[in-house]
Symmetry: C2
Subunit: 528 residues, 2 copies
Amino acid sequence: MTTVKHADGAAVDEKAAAKAEKHNNGGKALKHALPHRLKDSNLKITLDKATYKKEYGALAAELGRLQRVALERKIPVLLVFEGWDAAGKGDSINRLVSNWDMRGVRVVPTAKPTDEESMRPFLWRFWRGIPARGQIGVFDRSWYYPMLEARVMDGMEESDWKQRIDTVRRFEQALADDGTVLVKFFVHISRKTQAKRFEAWEGDRAFAWKVTRADWKRHKKFKKFEAAADELLQATHSDAAPWVVVPGTDRRFRRLSVMRVVVDALRGALEPSNGQKAAPVIRLAKGSNPIDKMDLKVTLPEEKYDKQVGPLQDELRRLQHLCYTERLGVVIAFEGSDAAGKGGAIRRLLQPLDPRGYTVVPIAAPQGEEKTHHYLWRFWRQLPKAGHWSIFDRTWYGRVLVERCEGFAKPEEWQRAYQEIRDFEAHLAEERYVLVKFWLQIDKDEQLRRFKARQGDPDKQWKITDEDWRNREKWDAYNQAVGDMVRLTSTPQSPWTLVEADDKLWARVKILKTVSQAVIKGLSQVKD
Amino acid sequence: MTTVKHADGAAVDEKAAAKAEKHNNGGKALKHALPHRLKDSNLKITLDKATYKKEYGALAAELGRLQRVALERKIPVLLVFEGWDAAGKGDSINRLVSNWDMRGVRVVPTAKPTDEESMRPFLWRFWRGIPARGQIGVFDRSWYYPMLEARVMDGMEESDWKQRIDTVRRFEQALADDGTVLVKFFVHISRKTQAKRFEAWEGDRAFAWKVTRADWKRHKKFKKFEAAADELLQATHSDAAPWVVVPGTDRRFRRLSVMRVVVDALRGALEPSNGQKAAPVIRLAKGSNPIDKMDLKVTLPEEKYDKQVGPLQDELRRLQHLCYTERLGVVIAFEGSDAAGKGGAIRRLLQPLDPRGYTVVPIAAPQGEEKTHHYLWRFWRQLPKAGHWSIFDRTWYGRVLVERCEGFAKPEEWQRAYQEIRDFEAHLAEERYVLVKFWLQIDKDEQLRRFKARQGDPDKQWKITDEDWRNREKWDAYNQAVGDMVRLTSTPQSPWTLVEADDKLWARVKILKTVSQAVIKGLSQVKD
């Protein structure tokens, strides 16, 4: 039942047939690794029906089994499908997922961003779609397609292109480090094959809508797209997130290749790994702890406070308006010792603001879906849209504070979090969000005074829990963690502001001033 | 310190001042109920500064206390602000929420729907924004504004208007029945005051953007809006969701009135209620159980199945395409006895479909946010956008099945759920969604056979749990619950399809046929 016809059904002459026959080594080729570069891809390869039939059933059953194992072991699986229009991405996805229990699979079409999406940072919608542990996420196109489009059609500049490549590499690395099995497919056909398929669709009333003028426009730039894609694939191929170029000329070869690659990837991930992965080497900064150098004795007299707070609040109100009209997003992160006065400080900050333009995000222990996703997922979800403000009362830094000190995260997990957080914040900066981070510090004795005062006040007892007392016993461990955090995650674009909080008035004014300055700076950059 | 100036700061002549003075009974008026109709509202009322200052502090403190009590008692609070442009809704909201810990408050601006929102049923975005238990949700405008706009500006027809009124009444009732404290404010000013305020804004560079051509266009139809609003308020004022018309001429009176009404409402809700609320009378249908009348012996021979299934699947593929182009949303709900073959049936249904156009929603016990919201909330969130399909593997009917039989819901809760579910599904029908509901029934002996077979098969053991055995012991209770469900929630627009599932082939073909017919019917209605 060996066939020598080309997959797109075009009649071929004898010579072509003989040539194609030479390439009908699909059965064998399946056993070999596919390349990760377009130029190394053999687009003439075909697979005969007999081999296809023989292999299909076994692969299908194995896919089913592997899904159940992934679910059991809570391994998230993310499969990305990129490739040329009409290359057969959709059909590859259909065939692949039809072997799975769809309750554990989510296919995420990444069409043009919706307006909720386009008001957020570039990676927002992709983070939103990552699979939970044990689930399989299939992206029909991904973060790569808009990059290619921007590069080829809109002339994205070299520096932006490189930066974005760096951003997605780090994004993929973060997912892989979290245990995600990540494979990226590029379904490849020749320019000629694409043209033939477009024409075939156009000739069929049921499919004509699939070919648009934009498709033909891109088709004309096929070579440019090809060159850009090869550069992109090369630059983003990694152990954590490998590319596999699948020739899409022959339907059978394409389908089976995808299935086999997924089987291999899942098996690889489920095999007992050869020795422990070396924990990443984190250089916990040596030297003195910046927290210890803070002068907690600073105070602000009440009369000065009263004079300053009004104008500062008026300014913030005005700035919030400007952020709205300039579509500037603002993220304000509050961390601090227990009883340091975060609540009161946040309140003074919010007082002048229009509540329709901000959201306060209180962070407690993760629940439900939050627990079954990458730890950064819930923070991504809560990013404000352009023009709005989000105020986080406790933040993603929980990973390197409470999760570190209480042992909720393994050492390699919290240690690599510093880099992950720097990447997250760098992306916010790239996307022109203003990020302001506060650490409110109080003296240990002052904390004790406040704890006792809270316990003695019926209106404030609710604020103090056994956990607060337990955390207090670990004062030194937390102090060390805060010091590491500040040293490892202060960057020029998202510095920490350490707030001396023994004197509440001092702290509040410092916070109002800092936010105001950061927003003014952000607005001045928008206007550039 | 009594002032006689009008709140909008316009200079007033002596006579007007004397007249206004007569109305300066704000202090006393605050003690009395505000009306729920525009025409009963006294727009001239003002409040002197002294009274304002005196009352403000006490109300503010009480609001803070009540928020903590609501949080402790897990009471959701929903405050709706409607009213004319420039009436002072925003300022009322600001003043009110500034008394609260914003970590427990969410202000939801309901501007023009985003495209994710406009691709969903009317109520979708409002359901999305309802507060969790213990939280306070503040809607800046709501479902009422688009109704008024449609009625006055777009000439919404009387019948649609009435239907929508009915829909929102039921929506509010469902929230109230779930324990939500719901108050709706209408901030009211005169046409003249509105014009003055628009002009004042236009004269101020910082605020000029707030007044658009559309605002003036609506201003011209002020009288028409007023009449429609009065009709709407009258029709949707209820104990569950009362309207309060707040005169917005005087800033002080407006602010304090809002605060006082919220204090009263929260206090009322927190008071021990006078005797148990009478449980709603549910007429559990008498007579025979439709499940018992099913003929479970029906079968479909394999050769017939093989002949029918292909064409049916081809047709479904075609229909999915049409749904996409016609923007028709489809919801398919699967319920059934344990081991009835839901999974296999869903698989056959999905096989021909393009996975980019559907989502499978597996329903398990609620987690995290799902648990802290109204039980329907998580189903609303998962509704497909127009043109897409959602397949629910178990559904909102869990409320009247497992939650009833296992005692997870109180009798009054599951009893009123029949109506709530009818309302939910009626809204889908109004919004032209196709809804198909399947109950897959197997014989008790057949279930035993399947359970045993699953236990004996290493590939299928994962499918059977202790819970399945426990449920089986309650066969009769479940059977009764299923019978009640089918009798009480089969409506002409969303009927149940009972599927005889002892023979899997029969069941699968019946399901494919039913979906196909329902979608064809839905498509024919779109084209009307």
